[in-house]
């Protein structure tokens, strides 16, 4: 079944041409499925812990939407630029690919920086997560996403080096493609975090 070639292999996008890359992409989808469950559990924990504030702040007190909006714009834009990078890759244009990937990384790093700043401010104003179940769940859910993004930034940076060293081979194309899946996935998770944690937290 593998690499069973319905169309001429050369007509397929670069990242799907090699049999192993094909397998890796499917495997990566399964990994993302598994990660969805991980985040679902953290969302469930957050939902249960939302009201468990003890002597600490409530969601409403903790959250200020201003910086979060900037973070959101940065991340959503980075998803768009990541899409542009893959579009450039499909056209085999290494220059724009590297440029858009670079922009994506910068936006991602900016997002992480702002989030760290947000967390530091929270701790300064309200104290550590030791204070309440709510704070623990908040920092863990948002922080797990932030950790994923940080890893993504490292990964993307390594891929830039890889692209520069090895050029746009099918293997490199596949790695870029799985990276882009990961990156869009984190964007979607963020949309949920923004809605469930920030918007809902500010409203109720």
């Amino acid at each position: 079944m593998i690499g069973q070639v319905q169309t001429d292999a050369r007509e397929r996008p670069l990242e799907f041409r090699d049999r192993r890359d094909n397998l890796a992409i499917l495997g990566f989808w399964f990994f993302l499925g598994s990660d969805v469950v991980l985040f679902s559990c953290l969302f469930a924990v957050y939902a249960v812990f939302q009201g468990r504030v003890a002597a600490g702040p409530t969601p409403r007190q903790l959250i200020s939407l201003g910086p979060v909006l900037v973070e959101t714009v940065a991340l959503l834009t980075s998803s768009f630029t990541c899409g542009l990078a893959i579009a450039a890759m499909r056209r085999g244009r290494t220059g724009p690919l590297a440029a858009w990937l670079g922009v994506t990384m910068l936006l991602g790093a900016g997002f992480v920086g702002m989030e760290i700043h947000e967390f530091a401010t929270d701790v300064r104003l309200f104290g550590t997560w030791h204070q309440s179940g709510f704070l623990s769940a908040f920092f863990t859910l948002v922080g797990t996403h932030g950790g994923h993004v940080s890893f993504g930034v490292l990964w993307g940076a390594a891929l830039l080096v890889l692209l520069w060293r090895q050029g746009l081979t099918p293997r490199v194309a596949r790695r870029l493609y799985t990276f882009s899946l990961y990156w869009h996935f984190l964007d979607i998770v963020w949309v949920f975090i923004f809605t469930v944690v920030y918007l809902a937290g500010k409203i109720t």
Binding site: M1, I2, N22, L23, A24, L26, G27, F30, F31, G33, S34, D35, V37, L38, C41, L42, V45, V48, F49, R52, V53, A54, G56, T128, W129, H130, Q131, S132, G133, F134, L135, S136, A137, F139, T140, L154, A158, L159, L162, R165, R171, R175
Partner: protein, 652 residues
């Protein structure tokens, strides 16, 4: 310095029993090292095994680990049963007893049953579906080494730092720092986290392998049932294990970084842990037992000389079980008091699982019906499994009756139930698979006569151990107590139960002896098909060659090999043999496991520089893996031809 020593060697690791174990570990390690040095085998060990990406060798390493786990877990079990043999016994203290039942349960589930299952997946699945390799050979090795180093980490706990002591379920708030300040629970959390990553990777690997690497013509509905069970198990793994990851991670954050998830104060919520644990935990019991179902389905067909009865129903019932298994977790804590409606829902959903399970039992029986049943060892375990598992399932349904469970919960009745299904289902199945696929791994069969002795000791021992425990549960004996007074009517059943446990121990010793004996007096399997099998793994010589299939088979029916034999298409044509490309060995997976080990050990003792160094190693190896392709090696056609000529299956 003294502080460090006190942390590393608390009194709990300096008890005579622990020191004795230390001494035997040292002696065994020195002996193995001396042997390897004398025979100049270190290079061989590294080249042939530690760096291998061959799924069959990885399977064998899993198998060795599983046997070690069975040994350690079994010794733990005998210690527990010895303490409970008579009332007011002073053999083990309370704390010691806690540690031993914790390590017993944890090892049996995570470091015996899981690796045993992965051993058989690795050995049999690619061969059964006509694949040359798994989808991700290097990831497969990574999974193994994460598991192996996690196993090492977990077992280190009783040598340095102290064992975990909060049960295999590790319920909060008992695992919180306030109640459990020693490092023991950290070992539990980190070891399971590390092996859990490997487990998820294995799930992904086998999903892709089975979905994409089947031989031409092997549609899903022509796959052997064991492959189906591996497919379904893998999907359960990738969707259930993240819940365990979260449960363990949050506990770890509480213990090491001061968060307040499961604490009593600060609005923490210990019940959340219990929910997360069982959202993983119930699917996990099916992760364990579905592969056994798959093995039995192969074994029963082969040794009845008939196609499996009701194949589509077998597949359907497995899928039904896997879906239902997500919706029953609350039955592990009916007594939490979630209210009548919630408990009724979960009670009924639990009972529903018995229906597809019953379908399977009938199909196995109907497969034997009218067949010529050969009672080899593999088949004996199957025959013992059916009644044993049925009784285990029936007591499960009793536990699912909510008002009843208020009585049975956490009593020896529960202990008997889950051993009934885990031993009678999972372990019997794995032993059956061990006997069945042994020749394919090593090229010789295990001694059947000794195997029967092991079987009878184990089976009778099993019932003598666990039947009295049902009675004890009904008499009110709760689980995890280490001592009980005279005069409750518990003394005799406990003594009998301990006797049974020792009989199972004898069965295990006979099995190990028999393996050693069979390795010395090899009863060679020259045909590659010692059981007159039905599926593709029996179409190749034993042990399976490195490249699996000289020529990938073409499949047109279920039981593909059986059909080929009927049609006389058992040999391969010389002209069809082409050079075969396989991935090269690599040391990266081993080093990755080692790095995780260092990171885990650092975290256990909160030595953050060490932990960071380990994580740095992990990242460095990952990046290295992106940049450096390990490459392939090609087995030339003439070499394939040569190794295929030996068993005489070539046709000019």
């Amino acid at each position: 310095m003294t502080h460090l020593l006190a942390q590393l060697f608390p009194p709990s690791v300096l008890r005579p029993m622990e020191l004795g174990a230390d001494a035997s570990i040292v002696i065994a390690t020195v002996a193995i090292a001396a042997f390897l040095t004398r025979k100049r085998r270190w290079g061989w060990l590294w080249r042939e095994w530690l760096t291998t990406v061959d799924h069959k060798k990885i399977g064998i390493m899993y198998l060795i680990a599983a046997m070690l786990g069975l040994f350690r877990g079994g010794v733990d079990a005998l210690l527990l049963r010895t303490q409970l043999a008579v009332p007011q016994n002073t053999f083990l203290g309370a704390e010691h007893y806690n540690e031993i039942f914790t390590t017993h349960g944890t090892i049996m589930v995570f470091f015996m049953a899981m690796p045993f299952i992965f051993a058989l997946f690795n050995i049999a699945i690619p061969l059964m579906i006509g694949a040359r390799d798994v989808a991700f050979p290097r990831l497969n090795a990574i999974s193994f080494w994460l598991f192996a180093f996690a196993f090492l980490l977990f077992n280190m706990s009783f040598v340095v730092g102290g064992s975990p002591n909060a049960g295999w379920t590790a319920y909060a708030p008992l695992t919180e720092l306030r109640f459990n300040p020693s490092v023991g629970e950290n070992y539990y959390l980190l070891a399971l986290q590390i092996s859990g990553i490997g487990t998820i990777a294995t799930g992904i690997n086998f999903l892709v392998t089975i979905l994409r690497l089947r031989a031409p013509g092997m549609t899903l509905m022509r796959m052997p049932l064991f492959a189906w069970s591996a497919l379904i198990t893998s999907s359960l793994i990738i969707f259930a294990f993240p819940a365990l990851t979260v449960a363990l991670a949050l506990t770890m954050l509480d213990r090491l970084f001061g968060s307040s998830f499961f604490t009593i104060g600060h609005a923490g919520m210990p019940m959340m842990y219990v929910n997360l644990f069982w959202i993983w935990g119930h699917p996990e019991v099916y992760i364990l037992v579905l592969p056994a179902f798959g093995i039995f389905s192969e074994v029963v067909a082969t040794f009845s000389g008939k196609a499996l009865f009701g194949y589509p129903a077998m597949v359907g019932s497995m899928i039904a079980i896997s879906l239902l298994s997500y919706g029953v977790w609350v039955h592990h804590f009916f007594t939490m008091g979630a209210g009548a409606a919630v408990n009724a829902f979960f009670g009924i959903s639990t009972m529903l699982i018995a229906i597809p399970t019953g379908v399977k039992v009938f199909n196995w029986i109907f497969t034997m019906w009218g067949g010529r049943v050969r009672t080899t060892c593999a088949m004996l375990w199957q025959l013992a499994f059916i009644p044993t598992f049925v009784i285990g399932g029936a007591t499960g349904v009793m536990l699912a009756v909510v008002p009843g469970d208020y009585q049975f919960h956490n009593s020896y009745f529960l202990v008997a139930h889950f051993h009934n299904v885990l031993i009678g289902g999972v372990v019997f199945g794995l032993f059956s698979g061990l006997y069945y696929w042994w020749p394919k791994m090593f090229g010789y069969t295990l001694n059947e006569r000794q195997g029967k002795w092991a079987f009878w000791f184990f089976l009778i021992g099993f019932w003598v151990t666990f039947f009295p425990q049902y009675l004890l549960g009904l008499e009110g004996m709760t689980r995890r107590i280490y001592i009980y007074p005279h005069g409750l009517g518990w003394s005799l059943p406990n003594l009998v139960s301990t006797g049974g446990a020792y009989a199972m121990g004898v069965g295990f010793v006979i099995l190990v002896y028999s393996i050693a004996y069979s390795a010395r007096h090899k009863d060679l399997d020259l045909t590659g098909d010692p059981w007159d099998g039905r599926t593709l793994e029996w179409s190749m010589p034993s042990p399976a060659p490195e490249y699996n299939f000289a020529v990938l088979p073409k499949v047109s029916t279920r039981d593909a090999w059986w059909t080929m034999k009927q049609a006389g298409r058992t040999s391969i044509r010389l002209g069809e043999i082409e050079p075969i490309t396989l991935p090269k060995n690599t040391g990266m997976p081993f080093l990755l496991g080692l790095s995780f080990f260092v990171a885990g050990l650092g975290a256990v003792f909160s030595w953050w520089p060490v932990a960071l160094a380990g994580l740095g190693g992990v990242l460095a190896l990952l990046v290295w893996g992106w940049f450096v392709e390990t490459g392939d090696h090609v087995i030339p056609a003439h070499e394939v031809r040569r190794s295929e000529t030996l068993p005489g299956r070539l046709e000019a």
